[in-house]
């Protein structure tokens, strides 16, 4: 039978787990975004070689499962003589993974800033750095934020894979508690619920930020009653 007592008794494990998940994923999101910004700049570089390197980086990270990237990174580090604690190695691997997705978004958002503004700035003698800082970056957020919400929640969800290299985040704690209690149903549902809440909060924060920067709302096209029977999915109130 379903026994919620299991969850209540072991709440310190879940609390420690969600705290580690928050730390690891937020660090990976921030670090990943910074790497992504550099990669996005490389992808719009004048030099073909730099563009090639940047797009190879993105393609490689996007086409290999994160669990394998993590293991390559984790087992590859000792080769270069570097010893890192699991959570640090895991966070760095997660940052690289997230950066490949963020880079594509940043590149698209930068390209969405009206071209004329960049040309006008250049005609007025702005340097590359000034154009970036004063024209492109302030305006790119309204294009970047909506897709960033999805990638950010993806990063949080992928952080569960760090449990396979024994980072004591939420999923790992769940496996520990399940080993002690033999109550997989309660434990894994509790964990799923905690992830669900965390990602829902993140999405809500992104919506608030999107309103601030004025992401263009897609105006729902006015539809005829006949067509809406097939083409819309929301139940009528």
């Amino acid at each position: 039978m379903i026994d919620p007592q299991v969850i209540i008794d072991h709440w310190p494990y879940f609390a420690a787990g969600i705290w580690m998940t928050i730390q690891v994923s937020l660090a990976a999101i921030v670090l990943g975004f910074m790497i992504a910004f550099a990669v996005a700049l490389l992808r719009t570089s004048r030099f073909r070689l730099l563009r090639g390197v940047a797009s190879a980086y993105v393609e490689m990270l996007r086409n290999v499962p994160f669990i394998i990237l993590l293991f390559i990174f984790f087992y590859g580090l000792p080769f270069s003589g570097i010893r890192l604690p699991e959570q640090v190695a895991g966070t760095i691997a997660l940052s690289f993974f997230a950066s490949a997705y963020y880079a594509e978004i940043i590149r698209g958002a930068m390209a969405s800033v009206p071209r004329g503004q960049v040309e006008a700035a250049r005609a007025m003698g702005f340097t590359y750095g000034q154009i970036l800082r004063d024209i492109i970056v302030p305006q790119m957020w309204k294009f970047a934020l909506p897709p960033m919400a999805g990638i950010t929640t993806m990063t949080v969800k992928e952080s569960s894979i760090l449990s396979t290299i024994t980072v004591a985040e939420l999923t790992y704690q769940g496996i520990i508690v399940q080993g002690m209690t033999f109550a997989p149903f309660e434990v894994f549902f509790a964990i799923a619920a905690l992830y669900w809440i965390f990602t829902a909060v993140l999405v809500r924060l992104f919506r608030i930020a999107e309103c601030r920067v004025g992401s263009a709302e897609l105006a729902a096209a006015a539809r005829s009653p006949v067509a809406s029977k097939y083409l819309t999915l929301e139940a009528r109130p």
């Binding site: 086409n63 894979i161 449990s163 549902f189 067509a227």
Partner: protein, 220 residues
């Protein structure tokens, strides 16, 4: 220890052989999730309130929780309800449940891009709802969501690597076994990465070919 490129080449054949399992699991999963995605889309369009609320909760749950946890739920938690599944079946079930939700979301987007005039024309010509779905809406739905569906296929391929955690012997699990018996885990995981890179690139190239092939019908 030196990174041995020869060892990467040596392990590749064994991993490519194991890719058969990965491809089979992924193919079944993609077929099932396309089917359930379509069913959910049609059921949603019937606009029965409680059903639609249930479907949105399901989609929100799938999108808000990690695939790894969903796999654990299918493999470890279902037996608590008396449903005991083998690792492969549990894995297919988990990834299908996951992917069907994303397919449904893709179809929702594609549905919104179909011109309403076509439905009005079909309805005024006297087509029955069944015919409107099968002859007017669905063919265009698949055509319009083709790039997104292909993208989902690569996501499913990558998702199958997680099944190694519940002991399905696919590419990644095989790599773990070779890695621990040869004491060269780094090279083996690099080789596994190459196999997945190859699989995903083949799928996305095939997707581009399909898009070109159906360019006329897609109206692009």
């Amino acid at each position: 220890m030196q990174f041995s490129f020869e060892f990467v080449l040596e392990t590749l054949p064994a991993l490519i052989a194991a890719a058969g399992v990965t491809i089979r699991v992924a193919a079944i999963t993609i077929a099932l999730s396309l089917f359930f995605g379509t069913v959910l889309t049609i059921v949603r369009a019937l606009k029965i309130r409680p059903v639609n609320v249930a479907i949105s909760i399901y989609i929100s749950f799938i999108r808000g929780t990690p695939l790894l946890v969903q796999i654990f739920l299918a493999y470890y938690a279902l037996p608590a309800l008396g449903i005991r599944l083998g690792p492969v079946t549990a894995g297919v079930l988990a990834i299908t449940a996951n992917n069907a939700a994303f397919m449904t979301e893709i179809f929702r987007g594609a549905l919104a891009s179909i011109p309403p005039g076509q439905i009005e024309a079909a309805a005024s010509l006297g087509l029955k709802p069944r015919a409107i779905w099968l002859k007017v809406v669905l063919p265009q739905l698949y055509m319009r969501s083709l790039p997104a569906i292909v993208n989902e296929c690569t996501i499913v391929i990558k998702g199958t690597a997680l099944l190694a955690v519940i002991t399905v012997v696919e590419v990644f699990r095989t790599a773990q076994q070779i890695g621990s018996s040869s004491f060269r885990p780094f090279e083996t995981f690099v080789a596994a990465g190459i196999v997945f890179l190859g699989l995903c690139l083949i799928i996305s190239q095939f997707g581009l070919w399909l898009e070109r092939r159906f360019a006329l019908r897609r109206g692009t």
